[in-house]
């Protein structure tokens, strides 16, 4: 543990205004007022960098890529200036037993205080044999590391909800972090990959207020996942006007109309892509002309086709045709029964006479 964060930053030539600007942007992204940005800067400047242990499980490293592969220095990049990253397989120089030792040392030194970041799902099939590190199963490592963690951040859809590995038929028995750890605060930052700045935001909040940000019922920070892509989308006005691109290369697509009909899952996806954007604010999927896949929602890959509009059902017409034939069959059967019944009634008609009236 080193001195106040601002000193570390100053050593790297980051001025207070730069940091203020950073915090202002961060606060705006977290839907906090500018005043909060200032408070955040004050608190964070004085805070000490927390120890962070980053465990990769059944994953593709996309989440790590998402954070590290941005052109430095960026807002997202600053995350590494804010923390003391004591274990991250992909990034650390150490390997093998040295790496494991570094982790154990950090866990011991910062017991009860370190942040645990997890990316990737945890396979439970075959006693977790599908994914092991240093001969130990992921579930084992997670349980051990979770024990001394102050809080856990589940990075990406895999850690948050099970992700691609859990896709039907889930051959490895993959589960999410929250399926295994239940006694620690967990922040889910879903997305495939997740938006890096969300991680920064969570850390900033943790450093500023000493607590995790407000979460929704799926454990996601409300500041970033409070509204759907659709609600924040700059193409939303076209949806309201009923202007839709019908194909990826028609006039509507060129005019930047709504991609709803092309299968955009924006209306059912809670994420911040529409406001935070990607690649240093350059663009995001909808802006580059492709509908949202809904990658930050649980089980998004099993939710119908990516290019099927939300209001379009699977294929009821074929069922409908079969039903029409069955209906006709039932109808004809009832018709015959009815006609037979009526004919019998007619044939057995007893002519009424006046005498009968008296009865």
């Amino acid at each position: 543990m080193q001195g106040p964060l601002i000193d570390t930053l100053a050593r790297q030539g980051i001025t207070r205004r730069t940091f203020l600007k950073y915090c202002a942007t961060l606060a705006s992204m977290m839907a906090l007022p500018p005043a909060a940005g200032r408070a955040m800067a004050e608190a964070m400047a004085a805070a000490r960098r927390p120890s962070v242990i980053w465990l990769p499980f059944q994953e593709c490293t996309g989440c790590t890529e998402s954070i590290t592969r941005s052109h430095s220095p960026t807002l997202e990049g600053m995350i590494f200036d804010m923390i003391s990253l004591d274990y991250q397989e992909t990034l650390m120089a150490a390997a093998g037993h040295q790496a494991e030792e570094a982790r154990h040392a950090a866990m011991k030194e910062n017991a009860g205080k370190y942040l645990l970041v997890v990316d990737g799902s945890i396979p439970l099939g075959r006693d977790g044999a599908y994914s092991c590190i240093g001969g130990r199963s992921n579930v084992d490592i997670l349980k051990e590391a979770a024990e001394g963690a102050a809080a856990i951040v589940a990075m990406g859809s895999c850690a948050s909800y099970g992700g691609i590995p859990k896709a039907n038929p889930n051959p490895t028995g993959a589960v999410s972090v929250s399926d295994i750890v239940t006694n620690k605060p967990i922040v889910n930052i879903p997305g495939c990959p997740p938006i890096p700045v969300v991680m920064t935001g969570v850390l900033a909040h943790y450093l500023t207020f000493g607590s995790l940000p407000e979460l929704d019922e799926k454990g996601r920070p409300k500041a970033f996942f409070g509204e759907t892509i659709h609600d924040r989308c700059y193409r939303r006005p076209f949806y309201d006007q009923g202007k839709f691109a019908k194909t990826f290369d028609d006039e509507g697509a060129r005019m930047g109309w709504c991609l709803f009909e092309l299968g955009c899952k924006g209306p059912v996806t809670y994420n911040a892509c529409a406001t935070v954007k990607w690649n240093g604010g350059t663009s995001w999927p909808v802006e580059s002309g492709h509908g949202c896949l809904g990658c930050s929602e649980p089980d998004f890959w099993d939710a119908g086709g990516f290019y099927k509009a939300l209001s379009v059902p699977a294929d009821p017409l074929r069922i409908g045709a079969a039903a029409a034939i069955a209906g006709a069959g039932a109808g004809v059967a009832v018709s015959f029964a009815n006609r037979a019944k009526k004919n019998v009634a007619r044939q057995t008609h007893e002519t009424l006479t006046v005498e009968d009236l008296e009865k």
Binding site: T228, H230, D231, Y239, D240, Q241, G242, F244, F260, E261, P267, V268, Y270, G294, E297, P298, D299, F300, D302, A303, G304, K308, A309, L310, S311, V312, P313, A314, D315, P316, L317, I319, G320, A321, A322, A323, A324, A326, G327, A328, A330, G331, V332, V334, S335, N338, R339, K342
Partner: protein, 219 residues
Amino acid sequence: MNELQFLTWVRGPGLDIAVGIFVLGVVWRLFEIYSLGRKKDLSTPRHAAGASGLHTVFRRSLPPPGMLKRSPVSYIGGYIFHIGLAIVVFGFAPHILLVTNLTGLSWPGLPSQFVDLVAVVTMAAMVVVLVDRINKPAKRFLSTFEDWFTWAVTFLPVLTGWMAVQHLLLPYTTMLALHILSVEILLVVLPFTKLFHAFTLFGSRWYNGRANAQRGVPV
């Protein structure tokens, strides 16, 4: 089951089942009803202008003289909610999209703000009609469980659809799923309740018009 799985189910298997039951029900009921046949009228017909089955199919859409004054709520409320339903069902862009994707048919949608307004007006009219059913002695007397049930089944799709668009109460995903589910309930129930009048109405009017046209009375 999370809300996206719920939505996926109602959009997939749920809708398949509902459409299946609906189509099956409609075809079967139409056969059941219209195969009963009727006797040919042997009397010498009297011909009169404007008297035919087809005339009555259209003419019955207008209130007979004096009736608008006698039962304004039934007529005005009825018009508003039937026309409103038609506008909401056939004018809302996502609905058209559904039809387009299923059948290839397409027509221009109405602005969503307008459809929104119509949905609210439709719901208001339906509530008024419901209150009328409670207040009017003849209506209340005739009402059975089916009447309250079918009202609710018709009202819910409008309400949930509107709430989904307005982002009220529940997250959009859940509301959209509930909206589709409510439509599915409507589809399943329609062939087997009084809602089937949507189909038999034309036959009924035609039969009535035809029978009276035989006597030269335009009805």
